[in-house]
Symmetry: C2
Subunit: 349 residues, 2 copies
């Protein structure tokens, strides 16, 4: 597997999974290994591993380590206990489609196999397959996406969508990394992405690692830069894409899409097709995770607001498909009308 960078956010190591604790970045690069699925669930909930594809991969390995520790000999008993493991992993974060797609895939893998040993082997193989497929998807989609970027472009991106979020090239950031490696002189404007600062902490760090010029701004500055003509395009990732192209992504994405429309700047989504949920018709049906008020009233543990203030903290928002110039996937670039384009992309082998 081609490794674009010298860090591995998720690795399968024998009977354990090794995760890079993203909450400690950029200050410290700390890895931890575990064979306890509850620890994997906690790592997902606490955003030690985050990014829709990475949540899917880590969740799959979480099920794998959980499965390996189930100490029964009857396949029926095994499958019952496996259900508890899968439920625990499923209850971590509600929005990212990739997690639920991965868990469905593992459920199916657990159906074949006549012995517990065989089923365990199937599950580990399935988790590794999910990992490889997600990483490979970002390598392909980054190639398609790079065609949209021109030499000299300044690209605004939101949250973090690099190798940390996907284990491969990345989605939105992967497209930029690919263009950079093709020799195009591209520059990144990274917005910090409050409340959890994935842009400041992770995207700035990954851009530096990849050797791409990056300028950090607060979320409130993106509009001003667009109004001054200093942004050539906006690319973000996605946590779930509805059948009509409506896209849930990190809170603040909708705002960037509106600003891009107003300033005639193309706004792109980059995501593997595993992020698409054809089971839901429009963005209105995508569950939006509400997170702890402390994320808004504190920054890195330091209080920034008076005690007792009420808080609203949705982790995602929904960008209606009409704002999206194209959806960049590993099956190619999907354009309007999205219902048709998405259907086509998902039925191509």
């Amino acid at each position: 597997m081609e490794k674009p960078l010298n860090y591995a956010p998720i690795e399968w190591r024998g009977n354990k999974v090794r995760l890079l604790d993203q909450t400690k970045l950029p200050g410290e690069e700390v890895y931890f290994e575990t064979d306890d699925y509850r620890e994997v669930a906690a790592a997902i909930r606490e955003l030690k591993v985050r990014g829709a594809p990475a949540i899917g991969i880590a969740g799959a390995y979480g099920v794998a380590v959980g499965a390996l520790k189930i100490d029964v000999t009857s396949p029926e008993e095994f499958r019952a206990k496996l259900g508890e493991v899968i439920d625990t992993i499923a209850r971590t974060r509600p929005t990212a489609r990739n997690l639920f797609g991965a868990l469905e895939y593992l459920q199916k893998a657990a159906q074949s196999g006549r012995t517990v040993i065989q089923i365990k082997n199937n599950l580990v193989a399935a988790a590794m397959f999910i990992h490889e497929e997600e990483a490979e998807a970002t390598r392909k989609l980054s190639e398609y996406g790079a065609e949209l970027l021109k030499d000299g472009d300044t690209i605004l991106t939101h949250c973090n969508t690099g190798p940390l979020a996907t284990t491969g090239y990345g989605t939105a950031l992967g497209v930029i990394i690919r263009a950079h490696r093709q020799g195009k002189k591209v520059k990144i404007i990274a917005d910090e992405t409050r409340p959890l600062l994935q842009g400041a902490r992770l995207t700035a760090w990954e851009a530096q690692k990849a050797g791409i010029p990056v300028t950090l701004i607060t979320d409130s500055m993106a509009g001003y830069l667009m109004s001054r003509g200093e942004i050539n395009c906006v690319i973000t990732g996605a946590d779930r894409i509805a059948a009509n192209g409506d896209t849930a992504n990190k809170i603040g994405t909708y705002t960037l899409a509106v600003l891009a429309k107003e300033n005639k700047v193309p706004f792109y989504i980059a995501a593997p097709t595993t992020t698409i949920d054809r089971g839901i018709a429009t963005g209105a049906q995508i569950p939006i995770e509400q997170r702890s008020p402390a994320e808004v009233t504190h920054v890195q543990g330091v209080p920034t607001a008076p005690a007792g203030v009420a808080v609203y903290n949705p982790a995602f928002d929904v960008t209606p498909h009409r704002y999206i110039a194209a959806i960049i996937t590993e099956k190619g670039i999907i354009r309007k009308p999205y219902t048709q384009g998405i259907k086509q992309a998902l039925t191509v082998a």
Copy 2:
């Protein structure tokens, strides 16, 4: 003078000025007195006192304390030394119009008076007059603005525009406080306003002091709330308004105006006419202050980004007049076309 709240951000005390150190809020309510104009200049530069009208008032008192300490007997010598004091105060922050208007007023006040004592008395009286006028303007404009708010409205506001920013009622927040005191059940959505968190630290604190329900969000959440129909109108203050109505205000204001337009939510500016600069034709000519990168790479002193990352940190942006539904002033509510309305408002006694 009617005091709407139990704190006084700026007070003249004999030969000294007392300031509430706003950088310590909401954690601590710390006041400090000084008779040194360089300390007043530093307080403005370091945002211990901020908000366009408050900068004007503090700057005026800074000149007053500086003048009182000039130890010469010839009016000519006095005026020369006063020039140095005024220059120091003028070099603190470039965007807020009120500061320069106040300094011009004091320059004029220093022209009359045959003795140094008389000139000093004139300057102290002029500074107190500026203070009273700015506070009185917010009392009047808040009454005009409150007419735009209905019972049950949820109002989004940005940065801080309450008594802390003006010493009176406040501008945008003053309008909301006035509506609340009229018995209208209004609610505030305060965005935190990175990088310096005036929304989280100061607006949330002032709303609590005024007894108005307030919900804190990050800057990136305002669009999502508007798209869900949860905001009835947006009101912000202003740092400088051009002759055509283009308005410079805290970075992020332009973004809120675009989001409001897209979601058919009225977007209002509230400011005393001292914020209007008829000397400049459009927003393109308003000088925009660039502040330290550390404000973006750190939050309350805690680093949030990798070392060495490039930063862009404009303190303000410009909202073109076409996005503004009305400008609320102490002379009444100005509507489009603004060039005419502004001219009219400034020529009315």
